[in-house]
Amino acid sequence: MAVEVVLPALGLTVEKGTILKWLKKEGETVSKGESLYEVEADKVTTEVESPASGVLKKILVPEGIEVPILTVVAVITEKGEELPEKYLSMEIKRTEPLIEKPTVEMMEPEVKIPTVPGEIKAVPAARQLAREKGINLSSIRGSGPGGTILLKDIKLFLAGKTPPPSQVFATPTAKKMAEKEAVPLSLIKGTGVSGRIMKEDVIRAKAELEKREEKILTPPIKPPSKFQLGQTIKMNSMRKAIAKRMVQSKFTAPHIYFYNDVEMGKLIALRDEIVYEVEKQEGIRLSINDFIIKAVALTLKEFPLLNSMVLGEEIKIFPEINVGLAVALEDGLIVPAIPKADQLGLIEIARYRADLIERARQSKLTLEEIERGTFTISSLAQYDIVFFTAILNPPQSGILTLGKVEEKPVVRDGSIVIRKIMRQGLSVDHRIIDGAVAAQFLQSLKKRLENPFLTFLI
């Protein structure tokens, strides 16, 4: 099957990249992980690896052409496989003479970071050459993004030329702020003299990250501006279902509600510490919600009654813990569930979460995904809601609500200190769950979220 080679996202603020050089020719055999082409973006040059093994069948974007990230730049096919026809029209022909680019060796990357001891990043081609020549990678300074050692760094080393010393140029204030806000300096583009990272650059990068974050967690929903005063609207099928189920829930299950405050500082710090590395390695960005889903699943295991339903005169405890996520849509609400969340790792949860939310918005969920939920989580944090009350999603007996995490003054050991506080709420079906049980559930969940190392490491 043909595999598309796309221009990867090369950095936080990078929107386009220029293909400097194809390291393979059309028709050449390539193996997965081998360097395929050199790309330059924001004055940083990097090598991009082949996503698959096969034949570099067609180069769609020639050298010297700048294209947006995620553009398909080439196609890799299996041996003997024909190029699918749709790619023929995608080829970019060079119409203007190629602008002379400075040679790679002469370009000084703008942002460089020192290699962390014990963890050397290098592209596979560089690794291979180093191995062949018996060079210790730790003696080489990488000039790629994040200090990654590129093939050219090894070549320069072999030629006896030492690449420029690797260093992050950031002002003291910028360094402190980046550390405090957990924004890696390697992701920040400096605008000061010689690319020095200034405080403003950190603020901008942080906003950029947050924007990205929000997009991932909650893609923007258009406000329902289509409605007009005096209008009568026919309910669509989803609205009818929501209406029916909410009435059924509210009038059959007597709701009781509980709230407590959770200190989120440690959990946020844990997540911030690992998020970039995880994203780099796994291609998925962990959100705080992924941790909460996991913690909820573990707490449900401890309190199975919260993971049950009323069936006639029986209480039926569900055999699985499937955590539902309330996803707001333009025309309503849908609750796809992550199956067996108690048994999944954070990364698997994150993948499910991202995929389910994405497909919910495209109306591409399966019936099973919607119906398998045994407990629901609903968050209105993105709308600055501090806390709220939810109606049970029948036949489930519990629903957790999440408010916005806010810095608040709290008293600890007799002093007023600032803590990141989230108010969580729990609605339960009082027919089968008493106040004390619900309260204990919430207390246990709070403990899990406040002691993340204990919760997620053991």
């Binding site: 002002t171 003291p172 910028a174 405090k180 405080k199």
Partner: protein, 467 residues
């Protein structure tokens, strides 16, 4: 009239904004014409910064000799004619220097008055008659003139502006200064040092009102000790000549009328942009009040025309004009440069001097910033005492969370030279830790800056312990 020549860049005005822009333009390969109606160096070199500082340094020596407990000189007096002569010599030396730089950079210098014919063409009225030049890019750097106030007629004899003050051949017995801004207080120091009885009339509640409050309080009290009278919240209604002596009519905050009289009156109420005869009306250029409106790239509303320096307003400082000149010249040469006004130092050449960079404590609080402050008095600094200059202090305003230094304010000996280090600290976004832990030479006045930074984090060594 034929067009004589087309230039890459025409700079109108040869002051510290204009000539610097011309040199930067030439460095970047432009064929540059600079037009100046008077002498290169502008107000700064000929009628402002340089002449006043020349006079001030002699006045300082004079004042120090008079107050010295150890040097005994009888009958020391200031020879005003020699003083003015020395001032003119300094101007001439520097002027020759600027002319050399202009020539050395291959810049064409034309002495004459410029006027826009259209957006590309400038007509220059010089001793060779009228000539027209075309410029691909034009930088307006025409500067400013002393501002006037209603009902006060500058006659150049008894009611003067700073320009005439610099040519006085005798020391007036009394000098009344209208305006307690930078120019007013500098002249107050000069003539107080020369022995005049000086009074300052200021409309606002304080003199040098843009500085930090503690600095204002400090300078005000030093001035009072030197018998300079300060009348704040006092508005001048008009002047008249009574038996050959000028009189000022003013009202104070309560509406009480006051009359001041003295030998000379100095009008020092700021400066107005100078655009007379420039033909701006033919350009339909966007203005910001009396000033030419520009963006942070020094671009005006008209493509390829830039404006810099006093004619654009903001702080009217030579070094700000020079910085803008460089930005304009670089943009005119196809680069992309921007000006950052947040880190431009201010200098006031009083005795002792005042300097500052960044935000005052009040401004920082108005912006809602959480701050910490540190202070160090020169009274506790060895070098200041040794020099017999114990007055004043250093104050540092830092952002509380990260410790970033956002303002430094100095009152004291050599304050204007001392502000260079803190300005670099602000530009590099240093925090109080870096400024406090950078080793400073001993004994120097710079130690006071280091100690003030340490004081902000309660670690100053030569201060009583902070609880």
């Amino acid at each position: 009239m034929e067009i004589r020549k087309n230039y890459d860049l025409i700079v109108i005005g040869g002051g510290p904004g204009g000539y610097v822009a011309a040199i930067r333009g030439a460095q970047l390969g432009a064929d540059v014409l600079i037009i100046e109606k008077d002498e290169l160096g502008g107000t700064c070199l000929n009628r402002g910064c340089i002449p006043t500082k020349t006079i001030l340094s002699d006045v300082k020596l004079f004042e120090n000799l008079k107050k010295s407990e150890t040097l005994k000189a009888d009958n020391i007096r200031m020879d005003m004619e020699k003083l003015i002569e020395r001032k003119n010599k300094v101007i001439k030396t520097l002027n020759t220097g600027v002319k050399f730089l202009i020539k050395d950079n291959g810049i064409t210098f034309l002495q004459g008055k410029a006027s826009f014919i259209d957006r590309k063409t400038v007509e220059v009225d010089s001793k060779n008659g009228k000539q027209r030049f075309e410029g691909n890019k034009i930088i307006i750097a025409t500067g400013s003139v002393s501002a006037q106030i209603p009902n006060v007629n500058v006659d150049g004899k008894t009611i003067l502006t700073s320009t005439e003050m610099l040519e006085l051949s005798s020391i007036p017995k009394e000098l009344i200064i209208i305006g307690g801004g930078v120019i007013g207080v500098e002249f107050a120091s000069i003539f107080n040092g020369l022995g005049s009885k000086v009074k300052i009339i200021e409309m606002l509640p304080e003199i040098i009102s843009t500085e930090d409050h503690e600095i204002i309080r400090g300078l005000t009290s030093i001035f009072k000790k030197k018998n300079i009278e300060i009348y704040t919240d006092t508005r001048v209604k008009g002047t008249k000549i009574n038996q050959g002596r000028p009189e000022i009519l003013a009202v104070d905050k309560e509406g009480k009328e006051m009359v001041f009289n003295g030998e000379k009156i100095l009008i020092a109420v700021g400066r107005s942009p100078y655009t007379d005869g420039l033909g701006l009306e033919r350009l339909n250029i966007e203005m910001d009040g009396k000033f030419i409106k520009v963006n942070e790239k020094m671009e005006t509303s008209i493509p390829n025309i830039y404006a810099i320096g006093d004619v654009t307003g903001h702080q009217m400082l030579a070094h700000k004009a020079s910085a803008e000149g460089i930005v304009a010249a670089e943009n005119a040469s196809g680069h992309s440069s921007r000006i950052d006004y947040s880190k431009i130092p201010n200098c006031i050449y009083t005795l002792p001097e005042v300097s500052s960079v960044g935000l005052t404590e009040k401004k920082a609080k108005e912006r809602g910033l959480q701050i910490m402050t540190g202070r160090f008095p020169f009274q506790s600094n060895g070098r200041a005492l040794a020099a017999g200059e114990p007055e004043g202090f250093v104050k540092i305003v830092a952002e509380k969370d990260l410790g970033q230094i956002i303002g430094v304010h100095i009152l004291g000996e050599n304050a204007t030279d001392l502000i260079g280090g803190p300005t670099l600290a602000l530009a590099l976004e240093a925090t109080v830790e870096e400024l406090g832990k950078t080793i400073q030479p001993h004994p120097t006045l710079t130690e006071a800056i280091m100690e003030a930074a340490l004081d902000a984090i309660k670690q100053a060594i030569h201060l009583p312990r902070k609880k």
